[in-house]
Every structure is written in C-alpha cells, then in structure tokens.
Subunit: 277 residues, 6 copies
Amino acid sequence: MVVKIGIIKCGNIGMSPVVDLALDERADRKDIAVRVLGSGAKMDPESVEEVTKKMVEEVKPDFIIYIGPNPGAPGPKKAREILSESGIPAVIIGDAPGLRVKDEMEQQGLGYIIIKCDPMIGARREFLDPVEMALFNSDVLRVLAGTGALRVVQEAIDKMIDAVKEGKEIELPKIVINEQKAVEAMEFTNPYAKAKAMAAFVIAEKVGDVDVKGCFMTKEAEKYIPIVASAHEMIRYAAKLVDEARELEKANDSVSRKPHHPEGKRLNKKALMEKPE
Amino acid sequence: MVVKIGIIKCGNIGMSPVVDLALDERADRKDIAVRVLGSGAKMDPESVEEVTKKMVEEVKPDFIIYIGPNPGAPGPKKAREILSESGIPAVIIGDAPGLRVKDEMEQQGLGYIIIKCDPMIGARREFLDPVEMALFNSDVLRVLAGTGALRVVQEAIDKMIDAVKEGKEIELPKIVINEQKAVEAMEFTNPYAKAKAMAAFVIAEKVGDVDVKGCFMTKEAEKYIPIVASAHEMIRYAAKLVDEARELEKANDSVSRKPHHPEGKRLNKKALMEKPE
Amino acid sequence: MVVKIGIIKCGNIGMSPVVDLALDERADRKDIAVRVLGSGAKMDPESVEEVTKKMVEEVKPDFIIYIGPNPGAPGPKKAREILSESGIPAVIIGDAPGLRVKDEMEQQGLGYIIIKCDPMIGARREFLDPVEMALFNSDVLRVLAGTGALRVVQEAIDKMIDAVKEGKEIELPKIVINEQKAVEAMEFTNPYAKAKAMAAFVIAEKVGDVDVKGCFMTKEAEKYIPIVASAHEMIRYAAKLVDEARELEKANDSVSRKPHHPEGKRLNKKALMEKPE
Amino acid sequence: MVVKIGIIKCGNIGMSPVVDLALDERADRKDIAVRVLGSGAKMDPESVEEVTKKMVEEVKPDFIIYIGPNPGAPGPKKAREILSESGIPAVIIGDAPGLRVKDEMEQQGLGYIIIKCDPMIGARREFLDPVEMALFNSDVLRVLAGTGALRVVQEAIDKMIDAVKEGKEIELPKIVINEQKAVEAMEFTNPYAKAKAMAAFVIAEKVGDVDVKGCFMTKEAEKYIPIVASAHEMIRYAAKLVDEARELEKANDSVSRKPHHPEGKRLNKKALMEKPE
Amino acid sequence: MVVKIGIIKCGNIGMSPVVDLALDERADRKDIAVRVLGSGAKMDPESVEEVTKKMVEEVKPDFIIYIGPNPGAPGPKKAREILSESGIPAVIIGDAPGLRVKDEMEQQGLGYIIIKCDPMIGARREFLDPVEMALFNSDVLRVLAGTGALRVVQEAIDKMIDAVKEGKEIELPKIVINEQKAVEAMEFTNPYAKAKAMAAFVIAEKVGDVDVKGCFMTKEAEKYIPIVASAHEMIRYAAKLVDEARELEKANDSVSRKPHHPEGKRLNKKALMEKPE
Amino acid sequence: MVVKIGIIKCGNIGMSPVVDLALDERADRKDIAVRVLGSGAKMDPESVEEVTKKMVEEVKPDFIIYIGPNPGAPGPKKAREILSESGIPAVIIGDAPGLRVKDEMEQQGLGYIIIKCDPMIGARREFLDPVEMALFNSDVLRVLAGTGALRVVQEAIDKMIDAVKEGKEIELPKIVINEQKAVEAMEFTNPYAKAKAMAAFVIAEKVGDVDVKGCFMTKEAEKYIPIVASAHEMIRYAAKLVDEARELEKANDSVSRKPHHPEGKRLNKKALMEKPE
Ligand SMILES: [Mg+2]
Ligand SMILES: [Mg+2]
Ligand SMILES: [Mg+2]
Ligand SMILES: [Mg+2]
Ligand SMILES: [Mg+2]
Ligand SMILES: [Mg+2]
Ligand SMILES: [Mg+2]
Ligand SMILES: [Mg+2]
C-alpha cells in the first residue's frame, strides 16, 4: 500500500524545505507518495486558497500537511478553514506565533505542530537579500536538525502514515516543540551534548523575538538594522552550538541515527559502523 | 503586471529549497507569483510526469523551472521531454551529473543551470537518516549562498522575469556555475574572502565525487560508511570556510547585498548601515 | 581633593568584582579613595544591615554604591532603607529582578543601575561547585566588558565623582542597561562588531530566565540539571560572541579604549599605537 | 557553630574576586560568615593599614585572609606586620612576586598561598582601560578555575574552617601553586585534558613575565604597547586552552565537581546526572 | 649491526623534510645511520645527477631513498636511471604526478611510494614567498602526519631496514598511498576521527589539482592569483580537519603511537600514560 | 654568476627543513646552487665530522650553513672546529641553548643565528613517535614562518649571497632572533597581528623550557609524560595564534610577501592582487 501525502507550502519557515525529505531521506521508501503544492515566499489568502483547494479537490491525498509561518495570519487562516471542511485529515506546522491559534486549530479538528525554535527572519530590505536569507535558513535548518526538533516533526508524520497503512483512524498530532521535547527525541548519550542542544534551541527561540522587534517594533533604519543583524548573529551561534553538541556525540561514537527502512519502518542505531535495526 | 513562475521540484538538490525564496526574500514583491509543484524526495518518471503535466496543462505559467538531481536520469528526462514540447519557456536546474546532457538540453530548446558545488548526498542507510540529511543540506545551502552560486541562479531567473515584464522573448540561461562564476557574482571586496569562497566551492564539488564513490562504487558497508561519512565532514568544512569568507567581508563592512525592490529591481549595497540603491 | 567612595558588596553579580577596579584600572588615580565592605556570597538581612551600617556610620564616604543580586530581596531591601535615611547619596547596582523595585528606589531617593545582561547563576548543587561558579563569572565578566555594559556603569560612577570634585550636587544615575545602551557606550566602529555585541547581550539576558527556570521552577534533578547546564552553555557562547566582536574591532585597529588619567579624567583613543587624549 | 572569616582585599589579583565566593558558591552554607574589607584597586600602606586594623580590631574574625598583588610591596608588608602581631591566624594570598618573601612570611607566623598562574596585568595607559582590565581578569579567572588553582586555594581555606569547627588549632597553609599542584586538585580523567590545563597554567605564568617587561623594563611607548598587548593575547589563549581541556572532560562526562554541602562538607561527583556525595 | 641509509632530496615535497626524522624520531636508534645529500629547491638534471652519483659512488649505503616532486620530470628521471643501474636497492618517493611513471619505475627495478595527499604548492611569484611556502609545508606536514600517510612511508622504510638487518633481500615497496591506506595505518579508534582524516586527505589531494590549474593552465595574474590562494586555503582547512580528528582521539585517550625502540623495533601504544610495547 | 651554498644538517630544529627552500621558494633562482649534506636525526661527533669534512673538502662552497640543535653539544662543537679552520665563511644556525656558546662562535670567526622560538621537542618514548614528531615540527614551522623568524634567517643568508655576487667580503651574521626582531621582519600592518605574533613567539620559546624539564629534569614517567604533552599543547596553540595573526592581515589585505626574483633580488608587496616590486 502506498500512502499519499499532500504537502502545502505557502511562505517559508526553516522546517518547510525538509518536511517532505525527512520522510524519505534516501528516496527509497515504497510505502509513500508525496505531492507538494506551494506558492513560494508568498502566503496571501488568494494564493493559499488556490493551492489548498487544488490539494483538497484534485490531489486528494490520505492526509495533508500545511506548513508555513504564523498559522494565525490571514493566508493560513484561509487554509485552515478549507482543510477543516475538507474531510481530509490535516495538520498545520508553524512557528511560535501559531501558539495564539492553538485552541482554534483544535476546534477546527486540525492537528498542529508548533516549532518554537523556528524563528522569524530579519526581513528588512537594508539587511536581507537572497544570500542572507539562505544563510539564515542554513543556520535554522542546522538547529532544527541538531536539536531534535526535526525528528519530532518527522516522527509525528510517520505515525500518521502508520495509521493509514494500518487502516486506523489518524490521531492528529497536537505538539508544541520546546527544548525538552526536541532533545528527548534526539536520544543524546552525552549529557553535555544534550545541554548544548537545549541551549541552542533557546537561543534560536529568542532570535524570533529579536527579529519581531527589528521588523515590527522599530521604525528607524539606524536602529532596526543592528537589531536584525544581531538576530542573525544569534542564530549563527545557535547553529555553532548545535554543531558542538553533535561533535561531542561523535567523540563518543553515539550519534543517534534513525533511518527509514524502504518499507517505512524507522530503524535505530548509534555506533557508526553498526547496522541499523 | 505579475509574472507567473512555475517551479517543479522532484527529488532534491541543495538549491531546491531556496530557488523560489531567492526571488522574493522578503515576500513583498508585487511583480511575481510563484506556483510550486513537487513530488518530495522522489523523482521516478511517473511522479515527475504527473507534476510536470499538471504544471504545463493546468498552471500554465509564463515560464517553468525544473529543479532536481541529475537531469539525465529517467525522471528528469521525462520532464525535459514534456517541457520541450510544451511551448512554455523552461530551464532545468541541476547538479554536476547534468553536464552529460547539456547538449541534449540545448537541442531540446531548454535552458539549463548546472551547479557544480551542489553535491550528491551520502545516501547510505547506515549513515543517512533524516537528521544527517538535514545537516548536509544546511551545509550545502551555506556553500551555495556564501560562494555566490545562489546569486548566479537568482540573477538568471530574475533576467527571465525582466524579459516577460518587458514583453521580450525570454533568453534561456545556459550556465555552468563553477567557482569563478560564483565568486564573481558575490563581488567580494577582500581578495582572501574570494579565495576562501573559491576553496569552499571546490571542496563542495569534490564532495559529490566522494559520495558517488561511497554510494555506487563500493559494496562493503565497512568501506562505504567511512567514505560517505568523510564526504559529510568535507562539506561541513566547506561550510565553515564560506563562513570565514563572509566574516572577512564583515570585518571590512563590505558584505555585498542585493535585495529585491518590491517592484522587482535588484538593489545594491555594501556598507551595512547604508540604503540599497 | 580625594573623593571617598564606599562600596557595599553583599552576594555577587557579575559586575561586583570589578565595580571598584573599573574606576581605577591602573591603581594610579589620585582623586579617589575606595573603601569596600562586604559579606561574601551571603545577602541575608542581618549581614547586609551590619555592613551597610558600618559603611554609613563609620566610613562615611562621599557617596555609596550598593551592588548585589536582586535589589528587591529582603537583604538589599534592608540596605535600601538604611541608605535612604543615611543622607549619603547612594546608588544600587543590581541585576534584572531589580526592575521590579525601580519605582520604589526612585521614591527612596536612591539611584539605580540595572544591568540586564548580568544573569543569575545555575545555583543547583549537582551542577554548581566553586569551579563552575568561577567559570560562569568569567563568561559574564567578558560579556559585561565586551558589550559596553561595564563602561555604562563606570561612566555613571565617574560622573558622580566629578560632581563631588566640582562641589555640585550628585545627580543620582537612573539607568536600565539594555543592549542598545551598552553598545552605544562601546563606540564600535565596525557595525557587525556592534551587532555581535548586541547578540551576546541578548543571549546573556536570556541566560537569567533559563537559570530562574532551573533553580526555582523545576523540581526534579533529572530535569533541572540539563536546564542549568544549558544556561551555562549559553553564557559560554555569549562570551565567545563578544570575543568575536572585539576581534573584528582589532582587525580594524579600532578598539575603543577610555583609560583614566591619574587626575581622573577619562581619556579616549582607538588606534592601538596612538596616545589617549 | 558559625566560623567568622575576615577577608582583606587591597589591590587585585585574578583570585581576589572569587576567594570568598569559592567558599560558598550557592550562598547556602550555614557554618560560615564572611566579612570583606577592601581598598579597591589601591594597595598603598595607609589604605592597607586602615582596613587591616579595622579587620583586626573591629571585625575580629576566627581567621583572616589577606589577598592582593605582590606580598612584598610596602602596603602588603604593612598588613603582614599588623596581622603577624594580631594574634589572629592569617594567610596571605598573592601572586608570583610573593615568592621573594616566602621565608619572611613563615617567620612572621603567617600562612601563604602563592598562585603562579595569576599574572600581573598590562598596566600601561595606552593599552589598559576599564574594559581591557575586565577582559584580562575574565581570562585569568578562567585559567584559575579551569586549571585547578582555584580549587587548591578553596580547599586550603576550607581546611582552616574545618579546624575552627573542630576546635583544633589552625594549621596555616604554606603553598606555592604550580601547574602540577593545580591539575592534581582538578582530578582530570582524560590525560590530555590535564596536559592542556598544565599548558594553560604555564602560559599564564609567562604572561606575568611579559607584563613586567612591558610595564617596568621598557620605556618607549612604541615598544611597550606591543609587549603588553602580546601578554593579553597570551592570556586569552591560555583561557581558550583551559576551555578546551574542560570540553574534553565534558566529552567524557567526567568533569570533576566538588560542591559544598550546606553544612560545609565538600561533596564529590563526576558524571553530570549523578548526585554529589 | 648498523644499516646505512642514503637519502637524496632534490626539490621538495611535504614528506621530504621528515622522511629521515621519521625513522629515528628521538635520535636514539642504534641500528641505523643516515646520510642525506640534496640540491635544495632545485631538481634540474645536472644537480640531481651530481648528488645521485655522489650517493651511489661515495656513500654507498645499504639502500637509497630518492624523494622529491614529480618522479617523471627530467631530474628525477636522471636519478632513476643512475639508481637503476647502481646495484643498490632504491625507492622513489614522490607525489601524484609520479603515478604516470609507476610502470616505468617497476621496470627499472625501483621501489616507489606515491603520496597522493602531498600536493604541489602554489608556485606563483605574486603569491609564494618564503613565508607562504613554509606555511604551506606546515599544513601539508600536518596532513601527512595526521592522516597516517607518513606512517605508511615510515613503516615501508622500516621494513627495508629490517630486511638488511636480517640479511634478507630487500623487498622494494610499491605503494600508492590513498586515503584508505593512510587511515588504516593510523589505527583510529573513533570512526569519526577516521572519517575526518579521510576527508582531509581527499581535500589535500584536490589541492594539487587546483595548484596545477593555477600554475600551468592559467595565464592571467588576475585569474591565477585567486586560484593558487584558494588552494592554500584548502590545505589550511585540511590541516584543521586533521587536527580535529586527532583531538577526537585525544578525547578517547586513544591516540595511536608507534615509537621506535633504540634497537629499531616499532613499539605500540594507545592510552597516553601507558608504556609502549 | 652562481653562488654555491653548502648546507650541513645534523639533527633537526624547526628551521632545518626550510632553510634551503626559503632561499628559492619557487626553485627558479638562477644565481644560486645549493648542496645539502646531512646525517638525519643524529648529531654525534663522528657523523657530524664526516659530513662537515665532505662539505669542506669536496663540495667547497662559497659559504657554509651549519644548522641543528644546541650548537654547544659535542657534535656541533666538532663542526665548529672544522668550519673555523676551513677558510670558508660559515654560519651556525641553532636554537636557544646555542646562546651559551655565542662568544665562543664569535672567537672562532663563525657567524651565528640563534632562533629563540625554535624549541626542543618532547623527546620521551612514551609520547614521541614519528607522527607526534611531525605534528610538532608542523607547529614550529608555522610559528617560525608566521612570526617572521624565518624571514630574519632568510634575509641574513640572502645578504651573504649578495656579498659573494658583489665580490665583497661576507659579513657573517651575528643574530639572536627574539620576538621583536622577528615581528619587525614581518612588517605587520595591523598592530594586533603583530602583538599576536609576539605572543606566539614567546609561548614557543617557553615550550623549550618545558620540554627540557620533561626530558632532562624529571625521572618518573607518570610525571614527565604530562609535562612533554603539555609542551606540545603549548606549541599547538602558538601555531593557532600565529594563524590568527595572519588572518588579521588577510582581513586588511596587508599580508607582507617578499618573493625572490629569479635573479635573486627580494621583491616586496602587500595587497594580494598587486605585482611584487
Ligand atoms: Mg521563520
Ligand atoms: Mg552578514
Ligand atoms: Mg545533491
Ligand atoms: Mg548573577
Ligand atoms: Mg561544565
Ligand atoms: Mg595580577
Ligand atoms: Mg609538493
Ligand atoms: Mg628543536
């Protein structure tokens, strides 16, 4: 059986680029098919409506993942309405501002995953060009992966896939990923590696606050430019700290790896030279 | 006027996640609309055919970007055939193996951008799980951004947009991005920053060779695990080196930034506190 | 004329060890005499009362600085009462919890300096021994010095000394040191150095929140140990980031130095080999 | 029983700020009370005499610690005379120049602790301002803590406290802390961590020689500025090396921690998640 | 018995300076005597002929090592002819271009060791002065030592010495050192250390390609200067990566050491504090 | 005219491998010919005598350089006697212990260059194997090159060459290279780069003291192993510090380069892209 997964990407958070890849990291899984529809960087209601409807009406997957910034904004709000009424099980993956519509999503019968370490970018024209944008996303991606946040997301979706395969009703995930949940998923062996990953998570979370300040609460360019620049310096160091955590695990040959079997099962290993089981 | 851009993502290369975002880094551009269709990690001919046809027949954008690994593989081959016959201007963005079908793409009337520093991943089950996959992509993304490769891609697509806006025929890009082209686009001020970026590019390029060896040319796990692990250590250092290059430019307050104006024009600046023009 | 400065140290914040040294970094100032009274790590009301009374009644300096954690706690409260009634101009230097008694201090006729980047330590027995305590203070001291927070404090006190020397009434400082005020005092030349210093300040500020969570809001050792350990990893990285900021200024030969003249005047210089003026 | 400890701080060495805090790192010890008297950065005979007499005549603690630079200088000489005649057990803690008066202190019936890795600062006006002073002290503090020198001092004083509590005569410490004694106290598990700590100690010790050369043996600013600047670069690297040593121990989860029990006993632990005993 | 080893050094590769020292690292071996003849940086046929003849005709050692760049160049060709006819067992140690004359050397009855990670230097006048040359050699030496390439060479020569001592015929080594052979000789305990060493080897190997491009295939200074500069940035990072590998082994106290016994036997140890056996 | 230079290498100091290469870094100088004779790691009187006599009696160069450890040891003593009586101008290059025979060399009519930052190695069997030896030499070479010590040596020899070419009498160098002389030769632009290089020099110099202690003044393996290991950690950090100094100069595009012209003249440049003059 092949489970069909529909993914809607409107606007971008750090998790967006890898949410589909994380399910099938070597592209050899036989039990899933993924279809992605997206509107690029934009998340205006019209664009979101168009792609969400196409997903619901044409692709008709077994379940739908909507991923993007701020689930409470007008665009994602539109998506939530459509998905809520679609009859297709759906989960919203978003960043910290999504906490404000957590209850609303619950009432809409939607699942949600809020990733607190996936911060807003420093979206000021004097600072953010395509290159700076990509570097920021590189750092965020490292934090997501190295802290375990990415694994929480991936395992939640894998459980949805399992349910479909087993013919069970999908239990929609309702998860707020904080530093504790993230590092638990990574199964660190060295306790300092775990502490470093938690530290990186908290710094990344704070980046979002600083960028909100720089983008929405400060008017003068001479003030907001240093603020958004400082936020990107913070995420750069959060990424370095996560790297240090992983290097500690490498020193102990205890990096936790959980590759997918081609049949979809999550395997498990720590010592690099051993087989996953 | 709003230019409609169709992007097909089947399988993943380092550039895939940001190719759309790089056109509209602050999501405030009024002159473009982007639609993305994708098949996740997979790039089998059936999946590729489905999404490519949907793009050609339903979305009907002003031009199409197909991005993914190895443009010569069966899936992308299918895409190229459909796009070639579609009448819609199309460009293929791929990694180094794409060099083998460069002439073929030219004959098909397709544009192409081959990014030599976007290496194959170490796709061995004992090594590559979702976390390792994301860390690899984080490093590749840093190399793409910091060396200038990403800017070459973005500027090439921006020129296509300009052509549509000006009512001209699109001149399809035919670009092989090597280290020289990449660093030229980044307009480094400090010559050592430029040399470091070139070094990072070349290391990243070599990563692909090592991963090919580890994935396709070595049979015993005890041999191929260290090989693919070494490839990921290489890209990690390429990313560090690119970071060092950018820090040198920061020391000189000469980081080149080229943000988009909401009307689509590429602005230009170096000193952090100045306005882009 | 020699201005007599009384300094009371009860308990410890990162600024405590250097508040006196920062006024006379080469111990050659002829215009001030400093007397310090303290109760070590403790700040219970009895100890604080004893040393504060001794300062007020026996030392009788021209003005008094009280420095220590949480100006709202019972010990410092006692000190504030005594100082408020002493007739001697006095300023309270404290960490972020002091914000809660800002108005109260104003009403008591006391000056205050609240240093937001001087975080609480991870005071859990399983984690904090004398060595860990000293390492934490080393990191905090680097952040205080490198971000400019220390200079804000020192300049505020120097102004009080100036007033005494000029026979003017002392204008008591009322300062909350945030990242903007700190970096302004450091007069960074390179804007990225400034952004890095701001980033370090914000991370250090967040350290306090994490340690409060680990020390007061979490009961199980298996949970609070990783939390306080993560806070110390955060401050370690804040210190690294401040070091990176200073190295950028060194690269530009633009480190701002403001040594004291033996007569007490603050001199000024940037290029290392030049004379301060 | 509460042991009353008097600490005199005149002038500053790296150990000065933490000598009291190291006895009671979480401020929860019930068996000691600490009183500190100090004269800030100055250590002239008049100031030293005033505070030392106040300590001896008014505070009358169970024992006295005098800490500051160069125990052979006129100020500390005055203190030693007063303490020698006071009848109160006293120990002098000082830096390397104190070696010259080791025998003299012995004859005066004083204990002593000479810390060879607590180097003189680069006290030249063109170089040393309050910020540079604090950064230097941050680095020295890291070296003191990470090499084990601080633990030697703390354990020596704790033994004096034990003696008072047990009603025994205090055996005054007579200790010269070199790299071997320091690292022994830190109980390193990894032998390379130990070697790195020893290396850091030796570099720190050498810093003092370079600063003496720059401050007292070189007249021309163009020569002495680079000399004192080089000394501070040395201590910065000694601090980095100590950090590397500690990170090695973290990799082995073998950081030695010896927190105080509230009743004063020194506990002991290595694995981060275990209880101290 | 003392084995007499003749070493000819004409021109320089990274291995040249230590080929003799690696046989007798503490200069206490009683079973060998080494004579070195060389022509400095030059390897023209006349110089090579002169020193090779002197070695063959005057020194007459038990066997001869010829070491230098490109065994196929005219100078080394001359050496090979003389050595081939000399009747003295001889081995040629060279860099990657030597692969082209591998069969030729075999036919000449010569042994060979080709070190693929010993790259050509960036020999352009605008870039390479004596200081840059020495820094490059420092980095290459670190790569040779840390990856295990040096140990392969040393063990091959030690086997030749053993043969002479045992009165056996020397079996001439025929070795191409690639990353697998190098790391095998280093007997890494931690698999990530091994992977990092392999990565460093591959980067170093690539450096040679880049320098060949910069020195021989590019004419304009504005193009070749960045190319050779980038090659030296690459080797600098290869050296850093090797250092990281060794630090991982230090963290595990598993650095493989194989010192020579004074009688020539290679001893063996891992834990730092244990005796070699 | 071609000046013939004879170089005798008996035993090894950090400068030994590059003393000849530094004269002709690109092997394109037409005005010199170099002949090297050496005895490998050994410097016993018999070996030294043999190679020195061969040099004096057979090679008969225009002048002779003898390089190796401790010029006062029996082997080098023998060399000095032979060279003193040979009638050929000769200079002894050695490490710090050579200071003890400085006057003796002067009386023997010999030139000398004593390099204080070229330290003794940690020659203990439990620690020093061929790999550790090579890593140590890599670090020392970096210090020699990056601090300017190597340039002092090279310029002194180049002056001897000039004298021969001009038909003048050779003025034999009498140089003790300390940190000031070294950094002066490197013509640093950034004053912090200079200070860092001086710091590295001083640390390297101290390494020799520590290794002497570990090799000659400590008997128990459990004590001397950590001592020699700490010395190698020190030189590793000295090398890192020198690298940091050079990176500062790269940030300013002010790396001083003094390549040789093929006719032997030393050229001069700073900006990377400019021509040397
Ligand atoms: Mg975001
Ligand atoms: Mg930037
Ligand atoms: Mg790829
Ligand atoms: Mg605090
Ligand atoms: Mg710790
Ligand atoms: Mg001191
Ligand atoms: Mg070479
Ligand atoms: Mg030596």
